[in-house]
């Protein structure tokens, strides 16, 4: 009889707590979004599954000795996984459109306003009883950079307790770019502005593409060493792509390596989706602030593009400003789609890739500033 009792006590049914059941349902929700709705499936599948695993009673996945515990501390707490992902992103990024039209860097810079404006929102939530410090606020605000690895990297350094909610918010909003951005883009532009056709981009030579990542790294070393982990890995990946002599390494960085790391990154982030860390009012605040950050970033990017269109001798379609929030390449595709709705002969995709990759650089620089000043 005693052994039957011990056996019962070792079952999941006897040990389940309500919070764990809710978080498992959240994990199932993430799996549903990934599988049925195709929302960022590469990350949400391992993340959703990680959320289920970490909430299994008795198994102790996220306790010392558990698999997810070690994955988190080896890869995310140290910052290694987001940085490896950033190297892969660098290997997948073509700076050609940016080098051909360098003024689009200003659009990438303007869209970072969403990050810094959200700092105020996070602090303001202290009035309604949420206790966000400046470090918490900075980690939440980086969601506006619309860059998953950057958000995870910064959150792991500044506010590890909020990492799960921040990662879920960042990837959810990136998946929702086609829904969040178009209304803002339409509201801030006129029909005529959306119809603007831009001049064809010039050819960018191989030498330019090789020198560019090295120059970005050099500038980061000089002016913002705190951002060199992110920018350095990004530039390494990009240099491997462009130099043309290490195609095997470039291919590994943008395929096998990034895929392997994505599995572990997703599981590691999922391990932070435990009931005690996720089921609180702070999570709601983070989800709301993430949407605000994203929307402000989109708006300031479009407004900056409108200003450039007024001042520049070459015409600039303001829609490409929305791509400044990064979220590569989804935001550029959205700009292209909204442009095509206004003018079926207007293909903005290549023009939008400029501010899009500028946004990646901009959010890495913004993360470096927050790390240097708050971390």
């Amino acid at each position: 009889m005693e052994s039957l009792k011990v056996l019962w006590m070792s079952t999941g049914l006897a040990n389940f707590e309500l919070g764990q059941v809710i978080m498992m349902l959240v994990g199932c929700g993430l799996l549903y979004l990934a599988i049925a709705r195709n929302f960022e499936p590469l990350l949400l599948v391992p993340m959703g599954f990680g959320a289920i695993l970490t909430n299994i009673p008795v198994a102790g996945f996220s306790e010392v000795g558990g698999l997810l515990h070690y994955i988190y501390y080896a890869g995310i707490d140290t910052g290694i996984f987001p940085l490896l992902i950033f190297m892969g992103v660098g290997a997948m990024t073509d700076f050609g459109a940016l080098i051909a039209n360098p003024k689009t860097l200003l659009l990438g810079a303007a869209a970072q306003f969403g990050i810094f404006a959200t700092l105020f929102g996070a602090i303001a939530l202290n009035y309604v009883g949420l206790d966000f410090s400046m470090k918490d606020a900075s980690a939440i605000a980086i969601i506006g950079g619309a860059d998953g690895p950057t958000a995870i990297f910064l959150a792991s350094k500044l506010a590890p307790d909020l990492l799960g909610a921040i990662a879920v918010a960042a990837y959810s909003y990136m998946a929702l770019v086609p829904i969040i951005q178009p209304p803002i883009m339409r509201a801030l532009t006129t029909e005529d502005e959306r119809k603007i056709e831009m001049a064809q981009l010039r050819h960018v030579t191989r030498v330019e593409k090789i020198i560019f990542p090295l120059a970005v790294l050099l500038m980061t070393i000089f002016f913002l060493p705190a951002a060199t982990p992110l920018v350095g890995m990004f530039c390494l990946g990009n240099l491997m792509r462009e130099c043309g002599v290490v195609d095997r390494l470039s291919s590994t960085a943008q395929n096998e390596l990034i895929n392997i790391v994505t599995i572990f990154l997703g599981l590691g982030v999922g391990s932070k989706l435990s009931a005690e860390q996720f089921l609180n009012t702070k999570t709601l605040g983070i989800l709301a602030l993430g949407a605000v950050a994203f929307s402000i970033g989109t708006a300031t990017g479009v407004l900056m593009a409108k200003l450039m269109n007024k001042l520049s001798k070459d015409k600039v379609n303001p829609l490409i400003g929305a791509a400044g929030v990064s979220a590569v390449p989804m935001a550029a595709r959205v700009a292209n789609k909204v442009g095509l709705e206004a003018n079926p002969h207007n293909f903005l995709l290549m023009h939008a890739m400029g501010p899009n990759v500028a946004g990646v650089l901009g959010s890495a620089v913004a993360a470096g500033i927050l790390l240097a000043l708050v971390g």
Binding site: Q112, I115, I369
Partner: protein, 90 residues
């Protein structure tokens, strides 16, 4: 409340410093691209572009004979590929 006020001031300073720095950093990159990279591009143009320009000239001459540029490009890339494979086998 005073603590919150101090946090707001800190957030304002961060915003100002952050935006100025992001614009300055990316602005410097614009200057770099417009000065250094553009000159480098003129000094070291891509070999492929030169070939394309040459083939365009050649195509203009052959236009009268009715050979389309696409066909010429396809044949020349096939020949290059064949030569590369042939030399690799050796």
């Amino acid at each position: 409340m005073e603590n919150l006020q101090a946090l707001f001031i800190e957030a304002g300073t961060l915003m100002l410093a952050g935006m100025v720095f992001v614009f300055a950093f990316l602005g410097l990159l614009i200057i770099f691209i417009n000065t250094v990279l553009v000159r480098l591009a003129k000094k070291y143009p891509d070999a492929i572009v030169e070939n394309k320009a040459q083939s365009k000239k050649n195509n203009k001459k052959q236009d009268g004979k009715g050979v389309s540029p696409a066909v010429v490009a396809a044949i020349s890339s096939a020949v290059t590929q064949y030569r590369q494979q042939h030399s690799a086998q050796k």
